[in-house]
Each structure stands twice: as structure tokens, then as C-alpha cells.
């Protein structure tokens, strides 16, 4: 049950433990070849018109590209016969690099542009470090013969590493000075980058057009009031406490069930389309399907009839559900409150509203696409309890994840099955079963782990959702933090000291504090060749595989064949995808960690990391320009997390070096290393206080500037109308496109449903609503006006 199982795909390459430069060269050649194979396949496939929507979906979504014209030969529509284009198979690389950053931001949003800067940051940090490492550390290390004199088995990689320096040598001063140089360089680059990204974010926020979230604050935990509806309560509260700034608000419905029904219906429709298409192509035979689990068992029925009736059922359910939303009970004690000015919204989002800090919780509204509607209703006490539960669960997930997997694996073990179900014994021990047995034993244990690892980001996302965050961008960031912890413990530490995290934990509890970094520090140089292979397999090949987009390619063609009837269907069949921040950023951070940890110890690892960052930068820039379509825009709100994790990697690397040197009896130099982590922690604090607020707060000066400009440019702006339907749950918006199931009449009843007009009690109204003429407080009034 070693943690090396974690990279069972790496193990193949590791069977002959990479020890010499030649071995690494061979491995590198294999990986470079496979990466090139991927790139070549991509270069050819992207030129075929019938793959156009797989490799250029972004342009389709932007409306700048349309399906290949139906003129010309039929074959031309599917295969590119222009031989000259094949000669330029690497043409996509300069194309990907050409677009300037400002245009990129406009094209794909700030999130993507800043995400690409992480790769660039990797290059900025590691190019000078690699240069210094090879210019100074490699000669210093190589011109010893400690390893030879020790007569132990050693590899050529080790000869270039710190292992080749004799104990107590004065040469360790070089490594000490280099550790300081690397730290200062990394901090300098990080500082510049934080400054640049903060400035980009502020510029982006300042230059973007009018958007509903600039004026809107999300208010949660509205306390219940016996005399007033939630809508009235919100209106009165903000009329009293923000009298000059409050404009309007939008209440929130508990539409979770409705969303589910709508989603299910959509799925059923897809199947209906599939069978109808099949029927059209082969009219002689009505398609049939089974009603049971996944259509594998149960009664056979006519598929078209079955799905038609299922859809009718769901439509009815949908109507009922929408009817239910008429009632008061389905209103959530939360609201999107909009203000007349950005200044008013900035004030409300940054201040505390009432004595009790657990009610009337105001925070910036995420942009409408970014809202995670299911979590808006979670009360405050639940939030704190849920976070405790998730913290404990995460600890167990990280340190004990092998236990359930080992259990599943032991079930898959034939001897285990024999013990559990003894009467199968004779059957299993038949000679003909030998082959199957060995197959199961060799294959299944790995599968269980692999399934877990594939599911892991989803599990972490579910945990984050359970914690009750209200925006998709926050959910992604929180999942990323959890995933990083998992990778740090189980991949980095887990591979350095072989053994599961649980075993490590046990070891460490029984070791002295001083020994923590020492044990790991000593193990670090020995694992250099393993991590070099890891960078090549996981990094290089992974990036090359990303650009090939094998999964979307297959899915698109399947859908195109089975489901697509109209151009709109074809549009929906595209899966442009996006940066999956929750799982890709932590993996990326692993390379920063490896680079920093090995920078002083084994500089030979750095070029591999440089190639990874360079390759990944080009590939992902291409993807951002041509493929990805971000679901939401958080204006690079993730940067503090990225910065923090690189700082974390830096501190880990310093502590490990401290541990390593303390075993090398370099008593003169080691104590000078202690200042490094302290300075790094302080640097992090400084950066936090200096730049973090740009990502959390919205300065009043900026808000005022934009408000003033807008007032001059558009003095007669009807802001209320602009905000009217910005924060309506998308499930209600789909209603318009949806013909069958709308329960809303077109002439104003819709608004009646959003805010019931029942207003029996005015007792608690604190001030007469002097805004009735200029700013009617809620949608209900518009509804009534329209009815009159």
C-alpha cells in the first residue's frame, strides 16, 4: 500500500529505477516522442473542417466563425485536402503567442489572461534560478568525489546534486548563498507579479462597462418578521439605513427542485431526439428500450412513446413546481439589493448592518453567471457547523484515504473473495480461471485507486458546496485549496518518504520536531530522478494531451451523429470547456513546489520544469484563444491563493534545506538559514496588507469616479430598468425559451409571483416611503403598474 501506487501510471516508467543520465535521456526521448505524437495528431486533426467546432469553439461562440460553407465538394466539408496547410503544422504556436495581452483580456476575460500568467511566472522564477544553478551549483557539486569515495551505488544525477559534497565542507556556504539568492529572486518576482495582477484587476474593474454586480449587494440571513414579508422587510431596512442610496432589490426563490426537474426534462429530451433520429434513419423499426436501471433491464417499451410520456410527466411536475413558487414559503431569506450608485453598493458591502453580525449579512453580489443559487439559504449557525464537519472530513480524507480503497482492493482480491464466499472456492480454483484470476488481481486494485483519483476533484467540490459558499468562483478556489493540501501530503511528501500519509503521520508523531525536516530533507536528493520522470510523464505528456482534446473530440462526433438535428443543436454539442481552477491550479503548484525544493539540492531538475512551463504556456494560450469559454468572470480573484501557495512552497523548500544541511554537519552555515523562513513569512504578510485588499474590497474613490463619469455621460440613465431582471434564477429565465411549461401569464402576473402584493401590515414601516414616485421598491410595483 505504498503511496507510489498513487502514480501507478508513473510506475511503468519507473520499473527500471531511473538512476543514470542515460536512463533519464531514454525516458525523456520516449516522453518527448509521445508528446510530439500528440502534437502532431493535433496539428493534423485541427485542420480538418469536421473537427472545426472541437478545436475552435470559442470563435463559434463569439459568432466570428460559422460552419464550413456547404459549397464545394462534399469531401471538402470533412477533410482538408489543401496539402500546403499540412506543411505548416507548427503554425498554431506563433498564432497562439501573437495576440497581445490586452486583446486577450477582451477576448477571453481577465481570469484566463491572469491564469496564463501563472505559467509565465514559472518561467520568470525558474529561468534565472536554473541559470545560476547550472553556472554555480553544478560545478561546485560535480568537482567532488564524495560519492565515489563512499563506494555506494550512485547515479550521475546524484553526482550533480548536493549529495556529492562531503560532510562538514565549507562548500555548503555556496548553497546557503544560493538559497538566499533564490528566495530573494522568487519574492521579488512574486511582489512584482502581485502588483501587476492587482493593477490589472483594478484596471479591468475600472474599464469594464456597467454591470449589475457593480450596483448590487447580496444580503443573506434576513431575519424573519411576523408582520412583513421578506421583500417588504428588505425594502424597509435599506430605505431606513441607506436612505440616499437604496434603489431596488430582487428576492430569491428556493428553486432547487425546479432546477432538478428542468434538468431531468432536458436529459429526457436528448434521449427522445436520439431515438427519433434513429427512427428517421431506419423508419421500418421502432426503437425500443428497457425501463430498468440504465436501460439494461426491465420491461421493453417503445422508446419514443416512453420518452414522450416521461417528458409530459415532467412538464406537469414543472408546472406544479412553478405554481408552488407562487407561495410565500418558497422565498429564501436572502435578497439581491441594488443601489443607485456604485459608491452606495461599495459602502453596504464593506460595512456591518446591524448589532447582530449573523443577520443581514451583506457582501458583494457575485456576477449573475457566478451565483451558486443552491447555497443562498443556509443560515449562519449551519455555516459554522458545516465548516467544522468539512475540516474534520478533509483531515481524514487526506490522511486516511487509502483505508476504504484498500478495503475495496481487498474485496477485488481473489483470496479475499474466497474467504468471504467460501462456496465459490472450487469454481475459482479451476485451472481455466487462473488467467482471469491473475488479471483481476493485477488490474482491479489499480482501478479502485484510479476511480478515486478521478472522482477526487468532484468530491472536494461537493465538500466545498456543502460548506455553503455562494459563488462558483469561490467554490473553485476552496476546492483548489483542498486539492493542493491533498497533493502536497500524498504526492510530494508521500513520494519522498514512501508510505501512506497515515503511516507518515504515525512516524512523525513519534519523531522530534527537529527531525521532521531532517527526514524529508535527507530523502529529497534521492528522489530527484523519480520527480524528473514525473515531470515528463505528468507534465509534458499531460499538456500535449490537453491540446489534443481527445475526450471532447469523441463526444462531439458522437453527439453530432446521434443528436444533432438543427444548427442550434450543433452549437450545444460543442464542449468548449474551461480552465478547471479547482483541479488544474493545484497540479500546477506542484511544479512550483518541485522546482523550489530542488533548486538548491538538485538543479538538474530545473530544465525539465522550465520545458513544462514553456510548453504549457503555449498550449494553454492556444486553448484560451481558440477553445475555452469561461463560465464566469471573477476578475482574477484567485491570485491571492496562487501567491500564497507559492510562498508556502518556498517556505517548505527552505525548511527542507535546513533539515538536509543539518545532517551534513555544516554547523557554520546552517544557523544562517533560519532567517529565511521568517523573512519569507514576513514578506507574505507585507504582500497581504499591501495588495490583498485589491481582491477583496472595492475602494470608494474608484466607485465615486465611475459614478461621476457615468452621471456626466448618461444623465438620464434608467438604472432600475437595467437591474430589473439581472439577478433572476436562470431557471426562471429559461421559461421564455420554454414553450410548454410556463405558468406565468405574459401580462404582468409574473411580477405578481415574484413579490406577492399582500401588504396587510404597515405597522412596522419605520419611515413613510418617500421614494414611491422616483424609485418603486420592488418588481411587484412594476407588475401592478403594468396591470393598471
Amino acid at each position: 500500500m505504498t503511496a507510489a501506487l498513487f502514480f501507478d501510471f508513473v510506475i511503468v516508467c519507473l520499473n527500471s529505477v531511473m538512476a543514470t543520465l542515460l536512463d533519464i535521456g531514454v525516458s525523456a526521448a520516449i516522453n518527448i516522442l509521445s508528446a510530439f505524437a500528440f502534437l502532431l495528431a493535433f496539428a493534423i486533426l485541427r485542420l480538418q473542417p469536421f473537427n472545426d467546432r472541437v478545436y475552435f469553439p470559442k470563435w463559434y461562440l463569439k459568432g466570428l466563425r460559422s460552419s464550413p460553407s456547404s459549397n464545394g465538394a462534399f469531401v471538402r466539408k470533412f477533410v482538408n485536402l489543401d496539402y500546403t496547410s499540412y506543411l505548416k503544422i507548427l503554425a498554431w504556436i506563433p498564432a497562439a503567442l501573437q495576440m497581445p495581452e490586452s486583446e486577450l483580456i477582451e477576448h477571453a476575460g481577465l481570469d484566463s489572461a491572469v491564469y496564463l500568467r501563472i505559467y509565465l511566472l514559472g518561467l520568470k522564477i525558474f529561468v534565472p534560478i536554473a541559470f545560476l544553478g547550472f553556472a554555480i551549483l553544478v560545478p561546485v557539486n560535480y568537482t567532488n568525489n564524495t560519492l565515489e569515495s563512499m563506494k555506494v551505488e550512485y547515479s550521475d544525477v546524484d553526482k550533480l546534486s548536493i549529495s556529492n559534497i562531503p560532510k562538514g565542507s565549507d562548500r555548503f556556504w555556496t548553497h546557503l548563498v544560493m538559497a538566499y539568492a533564490f528566495t530573494f529572486w522568487t519574492c521579488y518576482v512574486l511582489l512584482k507579479e502581485y502588483e501587476k495582477v492587482a493593477q490589472m484587476r483594478l484596471h479591468f474593474l475600472a474599464s469594464e462597462g456597467r454591470r449589475p454586480d457593480q450596483f448590487t449587494v447580496l444580503v443573506r440571513n434576513v431575519p424573519p418578521d411576523p408582520d412583513e414579508s421578506i421583500s417588504e422587510l428588505v425594502e424597509h431596512f435599506f430605505l431606513v439605513n441607506h436612505p440616499d442610496h437604496y434603489l431596488t432589490h430582487q428576492i430569491v426563490y428556493d428553486a432547487n427542485k425546479l432546477s432538478k426537474v428542468v434538468k431531468k426534462k432536458k436529459n429526457m429530451k436528448n434521449w427522445l431526439d436520439f431515438y427519433q433520429l434513429r427512427h428517421e434513419r431506419n423508419p421500418s423499426k421502432r426503437p425500443i428500450r428497457k425501463t430498468g436501471f440504465l436501460g439494461l433491464c426491465g420491461e421493453k417499451v417503445d422508446a419514443i412513446d416512453y420518452y414522450t410520456s416521461e417528458i409530459a410527466k415532467l412538464s406537469k411536475e414543472e408546472v406544479e413546481e412553478r405554481d408552488r413558487l407562487n407561495g410565500q414559503n418558497s422565498i429564501i431569506p436572502a435578497a439581491f439589493v441594488s443601489f443607485r450608485t456604485r459608491w452606495g453598493a461599495a459602502v453596504c458591502a464593506q460595512t456591518q448592518q446591524t448589532r447582530n453580525p449573523t443577520i443581514w449579512l451583506a457582501e458583494w453580489a457575485p456576477e449573475p453567471r457566478d451565483v451558486y443559487w443552491n447555497n443562498l439559504a443556509v443560515p449562519f449557525v449551519h455555516l459554522t457547523i458545516r465548516r467544522l464537519i468539512i475540516a474534520v472530513a478533509l483531515f481524514f480524507l487526506i490522511f486516511f484515504f487509502m483505508i476504504p480503497i484498500a478495503f475495496v482492493q481487498s474485496l477485488a482480491n481473489i483470496e479475499g473473495i474466497e474467504k468471504a464466499v467460501p462456496f465459490l472456492k472450487p469454481l475459482i480454483e479451476r485451472k481455466s480461471m487462473k488467467l482471469i484470476k491473475s488479471f483481476i488481481q493485477g488490474f482491479l486494485p489499480g482501478i479502485a485507486l484510479k476511480i478515486f483519483l478521478i472522482l477526487l476533484p468532484t468530491i472536494l467540490m461537493l465538500m466545498s458546496k456543502f460548506e455553503g459558499f455562494v459563488a462558483l468562483s469561490i467554490l473553485e478556489r476552496k476546492s483548489a485549496s483542498k486539492y493542493y493540501l491533498f497533493l502536497l501530503v500524498n504526492v510530494f511528501l508521500g513520494n519522498i518518504i514512501t508510505g501512506t500519509a497515515f503511516q507518515q503521520l504515525n512516524t512523525f508523531i513519534h519523531q522530534s520536531v527537529n527531525d521532521f525536516p531532517r527526514i524529508i530533507g535527507v530523502a529529497i536528493p534521492m528522489k530527484a530522478s523519480f520527480f524528473i520522470t514525473f515531470v515528463m510523464v505528468d507534465g509534458w505528456a499531460g499538456v500535449a494531451g490537453e491540446i489534443l482534446r481527445l475526450k471532447p473530440l469523441i463526444i462531439y462526433h458522437l453527439r453530432n451523429f446521434f443528436l444533432v438535428k438543427t444548427e442550434k443543436d450543433r452549437e450545444e454539442a460543442m464542449e468548449p470547456g474551461s480552465f478547471d481552477f479547482g483541479s488544474s491550479e493545484p497540479q500546477l503548484q506542484l511544479y512550483f513546489l518541485l522546482g523550489l525544493a530542488y533548486a538548491v539540492v538538485t538543479p538538474f531538475l530545473l530544465p525539465y520544469i522550465l520545458i513544462f512551463f514553456g510548453l504549457a504556456y503555449v498550449v494553454f494560450r492556444h486553448q484560451v484563444i481558440n477553445v475555452y469559454n469561461q463560465e464566469y468572470e471573477s476578475a482574477a480573484a484567485f491570485w491571492p491563493d496562487v501567491h500564497g501557495r507559492i510562498i508556502c512552497a518556498l517556505i517548505i523548500s527552505q525548511v527542507l534545506l535546513l533539515g538536509l544541511l543539518s545532517t551534513k554537519e555544516a554547523a557554520n552555515s546552517t544557523p544562517f538559514l533560519i532567517a529565511l523562513p521568517i523573512l519569507t513569512i514576513w514578506f507574505n504578510k507585507f504582500c497581504k496588507s499591501r495588495y490583498e485588499s485589491a481582491f477583496k474590497k472595492y475602494p470608494l474613490q474608484e466607485a465615486m469616479m465611475k459614478d461621476t463619469l457615468e452621471r456626466i455621460k448618461e444623465p438620464n440613465l434608467d438604472l432600475k430598468n437595467f437591474l430589473l431582471s439581472a439577478y433572476i434564477n436562470p431557471v426562471f429565465k429559461e421559461m421564455d425559451e420554454d414553450d410548454s411549461a410556463s405558468c406565468f401569464d405574459k401580462d404582468g402576473d409574473f411580477e405578481n409571483i415574484l413579490v406577492p402584493t399582500k401588504r396587510s401590515s404597515r405597522r412596522n414601516t419605520p419611515v413613510p416611503s418617500k421614494y414611491n414616485d422616483s424609485a418603486s421598491p420592488s418588481l411587484s410595483d412594476i407588475g401592478r403598474e403594468q396591470q393598471l
Copy 2:
């Protein structure tokens, strides 16, 4: 050089190590007697009219009590001859307890009232715990004979403690359940108390009258501008960014030097008074003094002439300094900005003003008495660097404080002197010197440590001041945190595992993590009798000593005799003192820590702590009512710190119990203890999010409510006039009382100095100042208006 030296005053009592119940009984009797002696002395001294100003200064300051009438016999003025009053020597106790809390808050402020609640909190926590401990734990512990059977030396105290339970016994379940019960009870009481204090604070803030700090925000780090003065810059910035709310502002002068001169002059005047009074009493002889160090050496001069000329010199210097303050250069880039409404101030204090979070730093202004003027000018980058320096310095202070003291002590050592200055050797080794030698050797080492301990709170306060906090209340709170850390490491841990903190640190670094709590946990029960003595000597006797006020008593009578000429002088001779939060609260926290750590282990310690809390509550309530005069009012802003430290003590006690039980081979029960610290940390987080904001933020609803009420009550209030001179450095205010050195003419030039009227550049004025009529932006305008 053991840490036990720290309590060399305790060591006397410890010479016969307290081991048996009888010994503790004797010690208790001695301490109770000495405490009673103090109380008796107090009861008698307080009845003497000539001590009236020592024991009832608060009433004098309030103007509710005046010097004993000059009618009646001369003796009556000094000695109380009314025998009946001596019979009621304990009458002060009910008197101290009678005043209801609401009246107490009005009488002495919320800070004092809430500070008293800490003692009450101690009683609330420990009375039920002590009851449970004696009802359940003591019988469970006592009905074993482990200690007898082990044939080791043991004390009766140990027989009542957990040490008497055999290893692996199932009886440890009792302790486990009790640990849970004690934790839940403590958390429950803490929660209720936090709620109550938060509510008291909000009520206090809501019910107090109009105060300048409600409308004012302190803005620091105003960026330099080549075209505008700081005053203009502040005005324009707030007119633009808070147009509807900005009222006026007050710039700040760098008057640190002036304060020093004024202080020095005041001191000189005291000496002049002293010599004049001496001369009056003995007119035949002019008093003389020496000009050198402390008047001990140097030329002899006529003292009255000397001080008169010195004062004249200082007066000239003061005038020059005040003239210098006319210039632009002495203006600090900080300002007190006042708003029209509390709402406007609350908004400004809670929001970020500009893109750059290091300039225009806005925070609530402390109340005028609370401002620490010297730190207003520290720039942002300095602040972060200073905090780093202090963090490192504090670490060294806590763990290595014994090194410089040991050095001083070794100097005091005669052999050390002999080595350093060999030619003194024959002199020292003379027989007559033997006595002096042994005296120096026995006495001086202790003195060095004692001086350090007396100076420690002052050192910590200086460190806090260096960190750059801007309010006295914050300085006190930060010093308290540092002192608590010192006490925790050097008193609590230092006495449990004997050895200096540095030695401990060294031990711990070489121990496993698991062993940390184990080593301390095992040592805990053995030190119970030491801490019982500590509670009696430091706690009981200390509290009784506090009420006697020996130092103020002596100082008052000395001053009264040597300096007092007028009734005003007598007023100034009183030293009412106040709660010194920075040093007294951490000492108090030590008792919470002891109580919680020993609650499960040795419940026998609890009654001693209960008596301490009870006695201290009565004594300090008396002091608050009759003596103390708080310098400032922070509205109980310290409560989150108090709460946090009790939580910290709770977690320490849980971890130590975990360590102790793990050595007792109570394998069944120990794992169940792990949940306790996790739950406690979570509880702390919950409390923080639930109540802390009441101490950090000012809710908009509250502000709006007060604003509205005020507008109704006083529609024609001239707020600007009210705020006019609220935030002027007290050194300028003293000017009025000061006849000789005022450089300000009475007819308006004063304002000219505060804000120079030179306004050459209006180029950068962002908007025309439409407020000129209703709200002139600075004092300079008032000045000009008055001149017109």
C-alpha cells in the same frame, strides 16, 4: 539559574517544600493572617481624615467630596477619634458590593465595570467546577491506594489527585467525562459572558451622549502632493469621495518635542516649588543643590535661582518650538476627519478609500484622551518592518531573557569582579570584607532579576509603542498579549518543567511532538502544592496589598508635605491610579490557566483560586468605586482578548490532560479526548464570528438610529462648533492655562497657525467647494471669518 528564581519571593515559603496538607494548612494560615493584617491596616488607615485623598480620590475628582472641613479640633483633621467607626472595620465590603452595575458604569465607566466582570467570570466558571470536582473526582481519586502500594514518597495532596489512580484503570473514564463537563461549562459561561459584554458595550455606545469620536475618523498616511498642503488635500479628498457626509477635519502637528519641553518644565517647576516651600519654612538659609547628575555631584548653586533660570530657559525653548510649529514642515500626514453624521463616519471607518491600501488609511478615531500622539506619523512600510522586529525581539525576550540577567549577576559575583579587575583582589580578600562579600553574593543576583521583572511591563509597553499603535487602549492590549506569553512560558511552563525557557526550548526541539504534552502533563500533578502556595502568596497577599495602597499613601504624604501649596496642588498630589490592563490582566489570566489545568488533575487547588477571585472581586470593586480614575474609556474593547486567552488556557489544559492520560495507559478513554481541543477551537471561531464584530465595527443601523434621534431632538445643533477643538494635541490646550509661553494671540492668530492660509495653488482642486457657506473645511476659515 532556574526559572524558580523568577519567584524568589515565593521560594521563601517553599524552602520547606509544601508536601502535606498540614504544610499547606500552615502556609494558608500564614498567608491568611498576612492578608488580614493588610486588610486591618487598610480598615484603620482609611478612616483617618488625613488619608482621605489616598483612599477616596475618585470622589474628590468627581467633586463629590472635599477636604475635611477646617472646623472642629485640629487633631480631628488628621485622626479619626470616633471609636464607633472602628467597630465596623469590614463595613467597606458591603459598601463595595452595594452599588448596582448600571450605577457603577455611570460612576467609573464601562471599562472598569467589565474588568470587574472578569473576576466574577472566574467565580462563575470555577464554583460549579470545584463543586463537581470535590463531589466526584476527589472520592474517585482518594479511594485508591496506588501511591501507598508504589512505596514512593507522596503528599496528601497527591492522594486527592489523579496520581492516585492506578495505570490503565477504568476510573479514568470519570476524568474524561469531567473534562468534557468542565469544558462545556466553561464554554457555556464564556458564551453567555461574551454575549452580555457585547450587549453592554453596544448599549453603552448607544446610550452615551454626543462625543467627538462618534463623528470622527483618523486618517493616516495622507500621500504627499506637490501642489496642495495636507489640509487642502484632506479637504478635497473627502469632499470628492464622501460629498454628502464630510464636515470638517483637524490636522495634526508633530508636537513630540514640545511635549517633552513642557513636561521638563513642569518637573522643574515642581522642584522650584519644593525649594521655595523649604525656604519659606526656614527663611534663614537659602537652599542649595549640586548641578551634576541627580544633584549628587558638581558645582553647588542656589537652588531657587538655578531652577528659576532653568525654567526661563525652557520657556524660551517652548516659545521657539511653538513658533517652529507655525511652519508647514511640522504638519504630520495624518488628520482627524469629522463627518456630519455618525453614519458617514461609520462608513468611512469601515471602507477602503483608494486603490492603494497603504495610503489614506481610515480607522475609527480613538476618543481624544485615548490618542497616542507620538505614533500618528509612522508610515505604512515602517509599520510592517517594526512589527517584524518586535516579533523577533519578543521571541528572544521570552526565551533568552535570563542571559543578560545572568551576565549582570555574574558581574555582581565577587569572584567575577576579581577576575575582571585583578588588582582589586587583595582588597576584596581582606577579612573585614567577608561579610560584605557574602551579602553582595547573596543579595545582588536576586536584585538584578527583580529589577528586570519590575521593568518588564514598561519594556513591553515600549515595544508596543515602537510597533506604532495609535491609541493608549490598543497599546495596553498589545502589551497585555506580550506579557501573557511571557508569563505562560516562564511562569507556568517554566515552573512545571524546572529550567529556563531556553533550556526547555532546547529540550523540546529534541523531543517528539507527542512528548510535548506528555512531559508537561506528567509534571503537572507534582507541582500542585507549589502552585497552591503561589496562589496564596501572589494572589491573596497581592490583592490585600493592593487595597492598602502603600506606595500611593507614602507618595501622597511626601508630596503633601514638600510640594503642596494650594488646593489645586493637593488635587494633583493624589495618585488615584487605574487598572493597569497591560500587566494586571495577564497575571489574572494565570489563575484561569491554573484553575483549568488543575480542575481535572488536582481539584484540591480550586478552592484557593475561588478565594482569590472572590477576594479580588470585592477589593477591586472597592477600588473602582473609591479610588481608580481611568485615563480613557475604550468601552470594553479588551474583551475579545480576555475571552481568547481563557480559550487558550482551556486548550492548553486539554492538551496537557491528553498527555497525562496517555502515560497512564488509559488506552480506552484517551482517544476520546482528542475531540475536545477541536471542539474548543471551533467554539472560539464561532464566538469570534458571532460577537467580535461588536468590538471592532460600528453597525450602520445603530449609527442611523442615533443620527435620526439627534436630528429630531436638536434640529439646530452646531456640530462643527462642537467638534472644533476636540482633537487638538493636549499640549496646545495647556497653552491657555499657561501664562508665560503662549505664542498665540487671543484674537484668531491661533487658528492661523493651525492651518496656514497660504493657498497659492487651486489647480488640483477637483470640485468647486460648494460647502463654503454651510461647512467651512478647516479651522483656518474660522480664523479668517473671525478676523474679518
